[in-house]
Every structure is written in C-alpha cells, then in structure tokens.
Amino acid sequence: MTPNLTFAPEGVLHPGALQAEDVSAMAKPIAVSGTDILKVRNLSKIFGPKPERAVELIKQGLGRNEIFEQTGNMVAVNDVSLSVKAGEIFVVMGLSGSGKSTLVRLLNRLIEPTSGQVILEDRDIAPMSTLELREVRRKKMAMVFQSFALLPNRTVLDNIAYGLEVAGLKKADRYAVARSALTRVGLGSYEKLLPGELSGGMQQRVGLARALAVNPSVLLMDEAFSALDPLIRFEMQNELLRLQKEEQRTIVFISHDIEEAIKIGGRIGIMKDGCLIQVGTPAELIQSPADAYVRDFFRNVDVSRFLKASSLMTTVERGLISCDIGAPCERYLNQLIDSGVECGYVCDEAGRYQGCVTPASLHKSGTHPIREAFVRDVNAVPLDADLHQLATIALSQEHDVPVTDTMGKLAGVVSCRTILKQVMERRAA
C-alpha cells in the first residue's frame, strides 16, 4: 500500500459524512496564510573551546560523539534549516539532548549561534547589534518557559506587564494591556496575587499572558507545558488552541511529547543529535517516516486520527455502475451478478457517487428506478476521513465504505477487512 499524501482541505465535509465526536475539539486552525515569517538557515551551535575545528569535522561527516571525543566540542545544533509560516504552530520534537531547547534559544539569541541565519520578517537576527537585538526581543519575540520563570517578588499583573515595562511603557498603558492579556487566559481576578500563590497551571497561564502582552510576531514556547501534570497539560493545550482560534499567532513550540506535538502542531520538525531530520504535518510523519527514529516516536501513540481514507482505499473496478438514478434496476442486475461482487456502487454520468446496490436489492426492486434499490446507511466519506470515521460507517452496515473526493466523485472504497485490520494494528501497538 503506497501512502497517498494528497489531502482534501480539512473542514470540508460532505453532506452525510459522519464526523467523529472528537474532531471538533481537536480541530486546529489550518488556514495558514502561507508566507514564511521566520526562516532559519544552516543554523549551528557548537559549545566548547574550538568550534572551528568541530565545523571542519562535521563537514568530514563525523558524528556528534566522535567530534566530542576528538575536540571536546559539543555539537548542540547541527546545520538546521527550517521555515515557519505566519499563523502556524511549528512544533520542534525530540528526545532530551537532541538540541531542541538550544535551537529555540538560538532564535532569540539567548544562546549565540556559532553560524547560520535566523531571518525574522526579512531581517537576519544573528549579526544584529545588542541594541537592535533588544528591540527585536521587546517587540517581535516573546518566550514562555518550562519552569514558568515568573518574578516571585512581583504581582501577577506586574509580571504580565514586565515586557512592556522593560520597553518603557507608562504604568497605566501597560496595566491596561496586561489586564486584557490576563482576561484572555482566564485569570482576570488574580492580578494582585504573587506567582507563588498560584498553582502550576495558573502560573503558566501568567507566563503565557506575559508573552502575549507584548504582542510578538513569533511566540517561542520552550516545553511550556512539560512541567504540568497530565490533566492540566491537556487543559493548557486546549487553551492554546482556543487562543490560536481567536487570533492566529506564529508559534515555535518545543516539546518532547509526541501526543502534544500532533495535537497542537500544524507541522512538526523532528530533531535527533542536533540535526533536524524530518519536517512535516503529523499525517506525513506518520505515513512516511524518514527513519526508524521518527517511526519510534509514534509507536505508542493512537494515530488512527491521522490514518486517512485516501491512503486506505482501493479503486473500484468491477461493480461500478454508471447510470442515471432513474434507470430501472433490472437493467443492471445481470451485469452485477456477472462481475461477481457483493455490491455495486452507482455513479451518475459525471462520476458522482449516488448509492450502493446489491444483487438482492436490484432483484427486489425490479422495474423501479435504481435509486429505490439503494442499500441504506452506505454513506460516503471524504478522502480525509480518519480511521475512527471509517470504523463508525463500517459498523452501521456490512459493505465496503465508499470514499468520495471534494467534487463528490467516487474515488475508491475502503473494505471492512482493511478497517478491521488497521484497528487491530493500532491496538497491538
């Protein structure tokens, strides 16, 4: 089975197609405007005494460990190039030590890059002077930290207003902005408390509000939810998606949690030993992983949501009935019996799917129009229907599930056997 990577745009569901219950909760804003707001080119960071030597050894193709043994240099980020589109959540995934936290700090130069470019809105940040960099940090980029990093001696409101205070805004102005940010994260009545008096989840809401208050072009989130317990983490992820729905922001999100990555990430970049080894949508990574390392990430994850009808279907050859739905049934009975299939899929002259018939239903309806012989509940699903939707349809009737494209044309069918097999495989994993 070759994976099919052409997808219909999300959110375009056909009439009659079932929608899984969790889809609306999971739905993320996908309508990304498409311009690259942040471009990273050949970015590297080498810690240690003689980075130039390490650069040469990288060019010779030596691995991270060999370079460390020979030179004492640690290659933290190795020649990473990527681009982040305006309005998308780009997740950088990797195990600890893969260089993802270093990468995000190279973007706002909390760590100085050894080489490479970080181009934000057409300006390279890497060679900027301290003064220019400070302006970028104040106005263009804000960061949310794993450990919250709130100032313990300041109230919630003063923490949120911090970025604006540093940038020199007057007290009344910055408090007004901070209050609105605080309301957006749902902590409106907590402005006078100190961070130490809030729970972890609330503290990170404050951290998020502090970053939102400066209205940055790019929001950097370094394992922002990793320190929270699972329920709160789940809630914060939903909160982020909700905020993203209200106002689309460009976010670079660092995570080591694959479930988090596929939940919130429009695209995911996978890092290993300082290299970015694959970038793609969750579906792309699941269906065509670059190597075993990428595949292993998804081993214990329920990826049924990303298993689309388009990649599971087979085309209909025998059993395709092309006719007007007003045509009498008996005309097609013998054709169906001769083809030896259990059921036939009726399409109009334009190829649009109309319904499903069986020899028995055709025989029963005799001279009536063929539409009266349609078997009930054999509803078509769109190309991007996931395994859950397919299984739901398959349960309600006993025939192969028809799949239609955006024009309503029959693209293929997914057999109940295939669906069952996929469900079994997910459970086995």
């Binding site: 700090r105 909390l110 940090r137 940038a167 008096e197 709160i232």
Partner: protein, 294 residues
C-alpha cells in the same frame, strides 16, 4: 621585639600615607567626625521615653507582641543601669559604620557577582580583612586619624564590610538562571536586569549580609573603645582596668541587649518577602471566572 621586613613594609606603607596625604586624612577625619557627632547628638537629643516608645512600636510592627515586650524590658534594664547615654553613643557609631560599610560593600558585591576576576581579588581581600585580628586595625587607624570616634568608625567599617560584600555576591549569583533568561528574552538592558531581577531576588541574602555587618560593627565598636570610641565599650574597658566585675558585667549586658534588639529587628527585614505574602493572601479574591479551573 622588632618586626621583620613584612612588618616594616606595612609600617612604611602607613607612614607613607600619613606623610603624603595628611591633609586629606585630616579633612576626611573632620567630615566623618562631624557626621558621627551629628548622629550621636541627634540620638541623644531624643528623650529616653520617646526612644522607648518608638523602638517598642517598631518592634511590634516588625515582629509582634513578644518581641516588643522584650525590647521594652531591655531598654528599661539599660536605663536602670545608668548606661543609656553610652548605649546611644555606641548605637550612633554602629549606625555610622554600617551605613558606610553598605555604601561601599553592596556595590563591591554587585561588581564581584558580575565579574569573576573581581570576585577572586575581592574574596582574598575579604578573607584578609575578616581574619586579621580586630585590634590590628586600630594601630593604623590611630596613626592616620588620631584618637577618638573617627578611627573607631574607620576600623569598624573595614572589619564589618566583608559579610555584606560576600552575601551580596552570593545572593546575585543564586538568582535562578531562568529568571535571567526571561529578563533577557524580554529585552532587558544589563541595568534593568540588575535592578528589576537580580537585586530584588537577591534581597533576602543581602539583608542577611546587612544583619551580619551590623553585628560585626557592634562587636568592633566595643573593641574600638581602646582608641577612644566611647560608649558601652569604654564602660567595659574601665571594668577590665579596675578588675571590677560589676561594672564589666553591666557594660557587657548592655552590649548583649543592644545586640539582640538590633539583630532581631534587622533580621525581620530579610523575612520581608514571606510577610508580605501572608498579607496578600488575606485579600485573595474569590474565583469568579468559570474559566479558572486549574
């Protein structure tokens, strides 16, 4: 008994300073003497009862009823022993010496925290200052500034400065790295980082340093009575000279009581962060927003 080359070197250094900068030392001495005198006269001008009320109220505010009662009792005992004037004099010296120690010591501590090389130099210098027997400072102080309060204050500054320098450096170094990262990521300048993040978060440590400095200043002021600092130390000294146990004990008790009052009061400022937290909690608003479920 003659000193060797090392001792001669120190002697020559002090003599050199004395010979070439005598005018400077005299002027400085006069200025510092005026400040200390003003402080002492100012404190002495306050009647005992007024001072008692002020200090008890202060103790009540900072630490509560029990400590306020203790302060009241301690001051009455001192007054009863007839040592109030001496206590005020000692207090003035301690305040003056501490003030200058902090003015010099805190910036040095900040400098040390920001610069590794400075810290190394400072540390050896501070070790020297702290371990050199306190009496030794009295000798050059007398040569350069004569007898009286001024050399006493100078020697006290030198002796009591190390803790506040050390604890300032330590406090700034201990500020969590991610707070600095957060500050930088929002575009702080170095001075914003210092004033808005490093110093506020190092404050408990710095206050512990201030407390230690005050304690050391108090002990040194007593020793400095040997060069005419006056105050409680002088009373103790006369007890020693006359081998009078009663006088010695009364003077010593006065020092102890003053020390406890000063220690507890200044310590309470180091605990400030915790206190204010408690007061905020009482005005905690009810969770009205349904969005708050964390």
């Amino acid at each position: 008994m003659n000193s060797s080359v090392i001792g001669k070197f120190a002697e020559n250094a002090v003599n050199f300073l004395f010979q070439h900068f005598r005018g400077g030392f005299d002027a400085f001495s006069a200025a510092l003497g005026a400040v200390v005198k003003l402080l002492e006269d100012g404190l002495a001008a306050v009647p005992f009862v007024a001072m008692l009320v002020i200090l008890v109220a202060f103790a009540l505010w900072r630490r509560g009823v029990v400590f306020a009662v203790f302060v009241g009792a301690a001051l009455m005992v001192i007054h009863y022993m007839g040592l109030w004037a001496q206590t005020v004099s000692t207090l003035a010296l301690v305040i003056a010496a501490t003030f200058f120690s902090l003015v010099i010591g805190v910036p040095l501590g900040i400098w040390g925290a920001r610069n590794k090389r400075v810290e190394v130099i400072l540390r050896s210098l501070l070790d020297f200052m702290q371990t050199m027997p306190a009496f030794v400072y009295l000798i050059p102080a007398v040569i350069l500034f004569g007898l009286g309060r001024v050399p006493a204050v100078i020697a006290t500054i030198v002796f009591s400065m190390p803790p506040v320098v050390r604890l300032t450096t330590l406090g700034i170094r201990q500020v969590r790295e991610e707070l600095l990262e957060a500050g930088r990521s929002f575009g702080n300048t170095d001075s914003q980082l210092l004033w808005k993040i490093q110093l506020p978060n190092a404050l408990p440590s710095i206050m512990a340093g201030v407390n230690q400095t005050i304690m050391m200043a108090l002990s040194m002021v007593v020793v400095a009575s040997m060069i005419g600092a006056g105050g409680l130390g002088e009373y103790v000294l006369s007890g020693i000279q006359r081998l009078d146990i009663g006088i010695g004990f009364e003077g010593g008790l006065g020092v102890v009581l003053l020390a406890i009052v000063l220690d507890r009061l200044t310590e309470s400022f180091g605990l400030k962060a915790k206190k204010s937290k408690r007061t905020v909690r009482t005005v905690k608003p009810a969770a009205t927003s349904t969005a708050v479920r964390t």
